[in-house]
Symmetry: C2
Subunit: 144 residues, 2 copies
DNA sequence: TGGAGAATGAGAGTCGTTCTCATATAGTGG
DNA sequence: CCACTATATGAGAACGACTCTCATTCTCCA
């Protein structure tokens, strides 16, 4: 919308109660939606507007402190950036998640990208399947 | 919502002009949003409601005839199921896309999944980077 | 302590997607 | 070939996630 050379990050970022509260909730570690985070803040007695949650999350994502992932229904999930890059193996029935780390992928991604002349490579990979527990259970018609 | 034993797929699926038109447009092969598909249909002189496009896409996805992918902004893209599984390397500046095929990934995914006891493995991988043309150009546009 | 400008909150607005329901239509039995 | 019934459709309302606006509050620094 704006054609201004307006910097996304202001000159002097400020520490506010709201941002601290949001970061505190984020510390818990799971991937959660902005709406969920907002709900948790309210539950904790913190009065933080939804817009503020979104704004701060956007800034945190922008500065690389927070990671995002997307649910099949389009809702965005946020989580504090894990120090070590990894991927997820998610059970499509119950949602149970296993973290996957492999430099096989990292190297492969780097090579392939380079081979095409692309730089600044990033990638997002998600594995889905049925976890051991759900293989015997009936395939529930679920959301996600 | 309904507590009826109502099947998602009705007893007798019917072939309608609208569905045929949608399938025809889908034949073109690219990943496109429902809105785009609807626009193309209108442009072709086909009078198909937006809701109908969504409904038919949902059915096609359900029956496995159509594949989906998601843009960072949450919009869903649809495409006829490709016979050959592959991934994409997308320029995050101009959107230029290269198809990537590699059994390195396929095998790795299979192994990792199996090692965790998961079955029915699927995965989604997207590589992003800056294409050769955009590496010298200013990182202008956003919004994907 | 005072001031400048960043941050916030409440609510309106945007946009993709789904739902509702009256109407049109495909496919079947007569 | 026609009537009938369940399915499909269209238009618009509704919905949910997310963003924007703008008046007000608050942080930080001198």
């Amino acid at each position: 919308m704006s054609t201004h050379p307006e910097p996304t990050v202001p000159k002097t970022p400020r520490i506010t109660k709201q941002r601290s509260a949001l970061l505190a909730v984020l510390q818990e570690g799971d991937f959660r939606s902005a709406q969920d985070l907002h709900a948790e803040l309210s539950q904790d007695g913190e009065r933080v507007g939804l817009a503020t949650v979104y704004r701060n999350l956007a800034k945190l994502v922008d500065s690389g402190e927070v990671d995002t992932r997307m649910r099949p229904d389009g809702e965005t999930l946020y989580r504090l950036c894990n120090p070590t890059h990894h991927h997820h193996l998610v059970c499509r029935n119950c949602g149970r998640t296993v973290e996957i780390r492999s430099n096989v992928i990292e190297q492969w991604a780097q090579e392939v990208t380079k081979a095409q002349g692309y730089t600044a490579q990033e990638h997002q990979l998600e594995l889905t399947g049925l976890c051991p527990a759900c293989q015997s259970a009936p395939p529930q018609p679920k959301r996600d």
